[in-house]
């Protein structure tokens, strides 16, 4: 299978007061198209940092990240925004929905971000149809006019997944997507991921829970800032 994203010896450290904390100490990994990969590790092992680097939300101190032929850590702003908008969809542990927007608008947000005011009227019906479709798929058809604070945790996370999939990105990154949910709701989210993966969606999911990681097709374990297996 074709490699979709690959890292070479990436290192990342943070300054904590006067001490420099090395979080990633040379991570090499490659993820193939259509894989469902779980990144596991103890708290502080650097798994969220790794996910942020894969999603171009952060840059490594050294090493390289390649998305297909593109080197992510050297992308200019314009291409970086394009990558974040079109290539990757992010699902956060705390949902991170925009409180001022309705469920439907939240789902449409990535599409709205890439459409100008002039082009909006002609594209709106198509975008809306896509958002309706995704929200219906995740059981949120009746909640489209609600605000995020009117939803349960599971519903919010499903809105976040719909938003992440809005622009049909080749890569879906999820940072502890069930970490803030009860086990039954979390199970539903995992089922949704498995379903998406079955349809060919590449997913990289960070979790500290080995049982959740078992649902993925491959597990990468981080230990002390390095890939263990």
């Amino acid at each position: 299978m074709e490699t979709i994203i690959k890292t070479d010896n990436i290192k990342k450290s943070y300054k904590m007061g006067k001490t420099q904390l090395e979080v990633l100490r040379g991570v090499d990994l490659s993820i193939k198209k259509g894989e469902f990969v779980a990144v596991v590790g103890a708290s502080g092992s650097g798994k969220s940092t790794l996910l942020h680097i894969l999603g171009a939300l952060d840059t490594p101190d050294s090493g390289s990240v390649h998305y297909q032929d593109q080197r992510l850590d050297r992308l200019r702003w314009g291409k970086l925004n394009h990558f974040r908008n079109k290539t990757v969809g992010f699902v956060f542990q705390f949902y991170h929905l925009l409180d001022e927007l309705t469920v439907l608008e939240n789902a449409m947000a990535p599409a709205m971000a890439s459409v100008g005011t002039v082009g909006w009227p002609s594209l709106k019906p198509k975008i809306q149809e896509r958002a309706y479709g995704l929200l219906e798929r995740f059981g949120l058809k009746d909640r489209i006019k609600h605000k995020p604070y009117e939803l349960s945790g599971g519903e919010r996370q499903r809105v976040a997944i719909a938003r992440a999939l809005m622009n049909a990105p080749p890569l879906l990154l999820a940072d502890e997507p069930t970490g803030n949910l009860d086990s039954q709701t979390g199970h539903g989210i995992l089922e949704a991921f498995k379903e998406l993966n079955a349809e060919g969606q590449t997913i990289v999911m960070v979790t500290h829970d080995e049982r959740i990681a078992d649902q993925a097709s491959r597990t990468i374990q981080l230990l002390d800032g390095k890939v263990k297996s």
């Binding site: 939300l57 702003w77 908008n85 705390f94 608008e105 709205m112």
Partner: protein
């Protein structure tokens, strides 16, 4: 598209944005009211000076005046761009009002009332002879006597009412004013060595209300020939202090003044060697603005000072908007991270906050303008009400020569104020907006967990 939607929602959903709108509205309101009143007072004051002086003034700096004015008046009257010319003889003197045993220093203005009314708004300043300025120096109660017109504030009879208007009798009161002047010879010395002062009685025929305190409080108008005699300007060559000119309608004051200046220079060159020709060196040809500069400039300075003060108010608005936006951006740090993780560009994020500031500025300006307009529309009624109910006036009309408070909103002033408010708000939004736009997504999301 998302920047419009979010800016709009932030504007409507954030109670704090009401504070910013109120701040902008108050600033616009205050600046609009003050600028309208100040501009109105200045415009009114300039207009009164223009009305008093005419378009162009050929005036001597010396009380001695200058001669051969009739020759030059003939030249001027031939010019197509000149409507009318009026000579004026000026002098200083004393007035004694017999029946009130009252004396005062005065400025004597000798004029031909009809000519002067064609050049200036002199006739409009009169009360009894407004329609017949040619009879202005003919007292109704003694038509054969020499009449005089006093500035309305000259004789302290307490005729000014609290609303700024004046008490008039149906007919002019009989008053004999004895005017004394110091006649000067061509060299500027006293004309007669034995009889140092010229004195003559005049009978009050009308008031002149120009609205200029210094004129209305000090000037007595008498016939030109009488003024020339009193001031020693009748011989050996007849002299005057100034020629007032009105240009034809549609003629530019600046270019017409330049033309008159050229004519005057030629005239002086031809007549400089005549007796009294040396007096031409004291004469200047000026536009009304130049001639009245010394009285207009202080008021203009005052207006500039007020404008500067209100610019400082504008700085405060910028600061308030800056604080409001800074608070909003601090609260919206997570949103910025979310937007960046979706690929929203820096310029779009900056655009959200700039649009937000424009919404604040536009709404605040609209509210402030409407309130300001209503307040100005009612300002005179409000002042009347305050005076009737609380005995308080903004300007005591018994002290200040002001009629109604100017309340005409100038569209260009309103446009400048609103434009400045929008600009100020955008500046206030720029710094926190840029700070927000430059943040890394992970910093904004505060998800840089290890």
């Amino acid at each position: 598209m998302i920047k419009w939607l979010l800016a709009w929602r932030y504007f409507f959903k954030r109670p704090i944005s009401i504070l910013a709108v109120v701040a902008v509205a108050l600033c616009v309101f205050i600046v609009l009211v003050v600028m309208t009143v100040m501009n109105g007072l200045l415009r009114d004051f300039k207009q009164k000076n223009h009305n008093y002086a005419g378009d162009c003034i050929i005036a001597s700096d010396s009380l001695v005046g200058f001669g051969y004015y009739e020759d030059f008046t003939s030249i001027l009257e031939e010019q197509p761009y000149i409507e009318a010319v009026s000579p004026m003889a000026k002098g200083v003197g004393l007035v004694h009002l017999k029946q009130y045993k009252w004396d005062s220093g005065i400025e004597i203005h000798g004029i031909d009332p009809l000519l002067h009314s064609r050049v200036t708004s002199f006739a409009d300043t009169l009360h009894y002879q407004k329609q017949t300025p040619e009879d202005a120096f003919r007292p109704q109660y003694a038509p054969q006597s020499d009449g005089c017109i006093t500035g309305i504030e000259l004789i302290p009879l307490g005729r000014r009412k609290t609303d700024g208007t004046y008490l008039y009798h149906d007919k002019p009161m009989r008053m004999e004013l004895v005017i004394s002047a110091f006649p000067l010879n061509i060299k500027g010395g006293l004309l007669r060595s034995l009889d140092l002062v010229s004195t003559k009685s005049f009978y009050y025929s009308d008031d002149s209300h120009s609205g200029l305190v210094k004129v209305d409080g000090a000037v007595v108008y008498i016939p030109l020939e009488q003024a020339q005699i009193l001031c020693g300007m009748d011989s050996p060559i007849k002299r005057i202090s100034s020629l007032h000119i009105r240009f034809a309608d549609g003629e530019s004051v600046q270019s017409s003044v330049a033309k008159v200046r050229r004519l005057w220079d030629e005239f002086v060159a031809q007549n400089i060697n005549k007796p009294g020709g040396s007096l031409f060196s004291n004469v200047r040809v000026q536009s009304w603005q130049q001639n009245r500069r010394s009285v207009i400039a202080p008021m203009e300075k005052e207006q500039i000072m007020m404008t500067m003060l209100f610019l400082m108010l504008g700085v405060i608005t910028v600061f308030i908007v800056f604080v409001v936006l800074y608070m909003i951006i601090s609260h919206k740090s997570k949103d910025i991270g979310i937007l960046k993780s979706m690929g929203v560009s820096m310029s779009s994020i900056l655009g959200i906050f700039l649009l937000f500031s424009i919404f604040i500025a536009s709404t605040g300006s609209l509210v402030g303008s409407v309130l300001g307009w209503i307040f100005l529309y009612k300002i005179n009624d409000l002042e009347d009400w305050l005076y009737k109910n609380h005995n308080w006036q903004l300007w005591d009309r018994t002290v200040y020569a002001i009629g109604d408070i100017p309340n005409q909103v100038a569209p260009e002033v309103l446009a400048i104020i609103v434009g400045s408010a929008v600009f100020a708000c955008m500046i206030g939004a720029l710094v926190p907006g840029l700070q927000a736009a430059r943040k890394k997504p992970v910093q904004s999301l505060q998800v840089n967990q290890l």
